[in-house]
Amino acid sequence: MTSLTDLTLADARDGLRAKKFSAAELARAHVDAMIAARPLNAFITETPVIAKAMADESDKRIARGDARPLEGLPLAIKDLFCTKGVRTTAASHILEPFVPTYESTVTQKLWDAGAVMLGKVNLDEFAMGSSNETSYFGPVENPWRKPGDNRSRVPGGSSGGSAAAVSARFALAATGTDTGGSIRQPAAFCGIVGIKPTYGRCSRWGIVAFASSLDQAGPMTRTVKDAAIMLRSMCGFDPKDSTSVDMAVPDFEKALTGNIKGLKVGIPEEYRIDGMPKEIESIWTKGAEWLKAAGAILKPVKLPLTKYALPTYYIVAPAECSSNLARYDGVRFGLREKGEDLTAMYEGTRGAGFGREVRRRILIGTYVLSAGYYDAYYLKAQRVRALIAADFANAFKEVDVLLAPTAPSSAFARGEKTADPIAMYLNDVFTVPASLAGLPGISVPAGLSADGLPLGLQLIGRAYDEETVLRTAGVLEQAAQFTARPQTWWKQ
């Protein structure tokens, strides 16, 4: 029998139901792996006691034939989801002592579906970053390294802890959140699957906000099927989130028919950017060929405003964040630095509480919303955003799904881009457009770079058409036969 931590979510589910092993055993195996993997710094807060209690409850349910969809399956939760009674930090010093009295809607749905919590995983501070290097709790290591090179690679971000935990097999799956690529890019960097559903599918209630009009939760898993299973339990209308959609949640697993005959797949020419590494281009071509071989019809499509997506995103997201993060003021919860007067207390608290990248984005956001600059920046960005969405809508008149790379490179070395924010932001170039348009996007591992690091391919679908995205992703996955896995160097 394969080790319990090597099982997919689907196999673990089936194994539990067939009583091949218990939920307690499954949880124990993952807790042990989690402890062994501490060098990766993936967890901010481990919750083995909770995991045990939840697994015991699951075993009782399984014994009486009352198993729920995710019964007994151990998950890692991005530390951006508020968890009742369990510290929730957003990887920030300012929330370091914060223990919510409430549970986010998405995690509550997962627990209601029987899932088991392993702990809270690391991320870029307030989900702002593409490398997990901005966390107050230190960077996460990518489990993948270039063979023969001991240098640390970044796991991507902001859901870097989630990606590392799933990739290194100490969580069956994890929750992530994606604002401009924070699920898809780390999934690509760590060789796993990550889907950002359509904006509005998952409730944002109880998720620490970064940029409200973009933030969306989604699953990070090792297979497309696992993503489909987990996504179903995460989605659904929530009256507590005015932007959540009141729509039936499909059985996404059933969409994985493997049949994409006649499906029209768009290849957006504008994603072929200057200076894109050859290997990215070739994996993209390969992906297109796989889909074609499976019966899809390839069509070049135009998304002319693609080049404006990144600057638009880096106006809209900081603008919202500058306002969303105003509540961290030392008055009611979290960190408070003493000050002689109110202003000194504010400045001390926010200066000490927020890291450099968060402060940078608050400043950018404050600037673009300021009197005299609002029209030139924020308002213009909103208009461009609407045009980008229209671009996609036009493309989807001709095709059913779009295929593109997830990121312009494989996982880069730690520290490689920290000195140059623009270079770091460029990492989001392929993921940001779908975020701005609110469309579903998935990253599927498609192969290895020349350096032996994972490369991902991205599929973008119509709004609320996660089923086509998942079905196509399943075909890609099948064709790619991505079986490589990171070497467990952290166990030595």
């Binding site: 005015s242 509540r327 404050t366």
Partner: protein, 498 residues
């Protein structure tokens, strides 16, 4: 309607015209807050009516309170205003400890209600139409308590997130008195609509006042905004002080600086709070947590169908259907409770006497406005705490109308009722105040009065007919007010003519 006739202020260099616009913050009558389910009840222990949303906890999201939207639409309709079927909530960003999220959710560019009109009754009896610029919904902030500790500030978030309607007038007001009349009228309309209790002491209705002065016909002057004005009296004081201050500044050759000023109720003065340079940059932008508010014409029509009769309509009806004089009609409709009392009173009188409303309206109005309001005012009592109910007062009115008691006696009975809360007929019975209309009994009294006052009889017969009032007075005295005055006059004339 009259165009603004400027009540000019005299200055050393001639006349000045005063231009006033008001921003009224009216707390929406609603059990829960604008974006959370927390209670809005006044006077609770600090921080006991605060949800996680109101306290700005991480991951909390606002959800619009549908009833508050309905109240805002109702108010807009009551102000004869445009209802905007699409409105947008924006964030107004600034830091303050009693503003938990670091922003106030308000409506900036696209308010729920657009232009409207309020008809204001001025003290001289004239009316003036005052334009409404807009009405928008927004959250109230919490309260900073600076007096609880020598060094620390305490924060009470009970009020944080409570729904307010900001009602912005056009700069159509020309004196403190007019501004006061406008607030009174606005308050009456809100109370009739049931959308704001109008309680200024509890802060349910607060005003910011924009004041500027100019030479008549000149371009608008620089304005100052006065904050923290929370009574009609203070409003007039603040306007008077501020206009005089501005005129003095200008006449001394100094310019008015655009600034926010604070009214100090203790001194009656205004003082600089912050200059234009220190004004916040609120960085308004649409709140991404909330979708634009979309209403349907049907929805608005349904609310319109349930609007109550408002003061102006009620006053017109009182004048036309009940034949009540304009002055009294105006007084009667000023407060919803007074109007309700009056209408219940008229209905009860009608029921007892079977008379038509137009035949009893004016008399009823006289009783309520003169007697009842007079007595209540003397005791600083509100109509709700009147010791005489509308039905009890109708009992007295019926006795008066069927001749059981005379007018003067009715006044006495009223006083007794007011003091003791007793029934009119019981008082009349107890004190033997029934009007004497028996001609035999009256004749005897008339004879006595004539016999007792020969000098006056001589005067009367000598052609001084006004002396008749003397005889009537004597007779009323003799009968302790119970004599039917009409019959007495008749009899006296007959006997004195002999």
């Amino acid at each position: 309607m009259t165009a603004p006739t400027p009540a000019l202020l005299k200055g050393a260099t001639g006349d000045w015209e005063l231009i006033i616009g008001l921003e009224v913050h009216a707390q929406v009558t609603s059990n829960s807050k604008l974006f959370s389910g927390a209670s809005t009840e006044f006077g609770a222990e600090p921080n006991t009516q605060v949800s996680l949303i109101d306290a700005g906890f991480p991951g909390m999201l606002p959800v619009i309170n549908g009833f508050v939207v309905e109240q805002a639409v109702r108010t807009g309709l009551g102000l004869n205003a445009q209802i905007n079927l699409r409105s947008v909530f924006d964030r107004k960003n600034y830091f303050y400890p009693d503003l938990p999220a670091g922003y106030q959710i308000s409506q900036y560019k696209q308010p729920i209600v657009g232009e409207g009109i309020v008809t204001v009754d001025l003290p001289d009896g004239s009316v003036r139409e005052v334009g409404i610029e807009r009405l928008h919904l927004e959250q109230d902030a919490g309260k900073s308590l600076h007096d609880q500790h020598p060094k620390l500030t305490y924060v009470d978030l009970n009020r944080a997130g409570v729904a307010l309607m900001e009602i912005v007038s056009k700069p159509d007001l020309r004196s403190g008195e007019e501004a006061g009349a406008y607030v009174k009228k606005l308050r009456a309309i809100l109370r009739y609509l049931g959308t704001c209790d109008g309680n200024m002491e509890q802060g349910s209705l607060r005003c910011d006042v924009n004041v500027s002065v100019r030479k008549p016909g000149a371009a608008l002057g620089t304005r100052c905004e006065i904050k923290n004005v929370n009574s009609v009296r203070f409003l007039q004081q603040a306007v008077d002080f501020e206009s005089r201050r501005q005129i003095e500044e200008l006449e001394a050759g100094r310019a008015i600086k655009q600034e926010t000023r604070l009214y100090d109720a203790n001194t009656g003065e205004t003082r600089t709070m912050r200059s234009k340079e220190e004004a916040h940059d609120y960085r308004y932008f649409p709140d991404p947590d909330l979708l634009p508010l979309e209403l349907t014409p049907d929805y608005v029509a349904r609310i319109k169908a349930t609007l109550p009769e408002l003061p102006d309509a009620k006053r017109a009806r009182l004048e036309s259907d009940l034949a009540i004089a304009p002055y009294q009609a105006r007084v009667l409709v000023m407060e919803k409770e007074s109007a309700d009392y009056f209408e219940a009173f008229v209905a009860a009188v009608q029921k007892r006497t079977g008379k038509a409303p137009q035949d009893i309206g004016q008399d009823c109005a006289n009783v309520v406005v003169t007697e009842l309001f007079g007595a209540l005012n003397k005791d600083s009592k509100s109509i709700e705490s009147s010791p005489i109910s509308p039905t009890a007062l109708a009992g007295l009115q019926a006795l008066k109308m069927d001749g059981t008691v005379s007018g003067p006696t009715a006044k006495k009975v009223f006083e007794e009722m007011y003091a003791t809360g007793k029934d009119a007929s019981a008082i009349v019975e107890e004190k033997g105040l029934k009007q004497v209309s028996d001609s035999g009994a009256l004749e005897a009294m008339v004879d006595k009065v004539i016999a007792d006052n020969p000098k006056q009889v001589e005067q009367y017969r000598g052609g001084k007919e006004t002396v008749i009032t003397f005889f009537v007075g004597q007779l009323m005295k003799l009968s302790r007010g119970t004599a039917n005055p009409a019959m007495v006059t008749e009899l006296l004339k007959k006997k004195l003519a002999k």
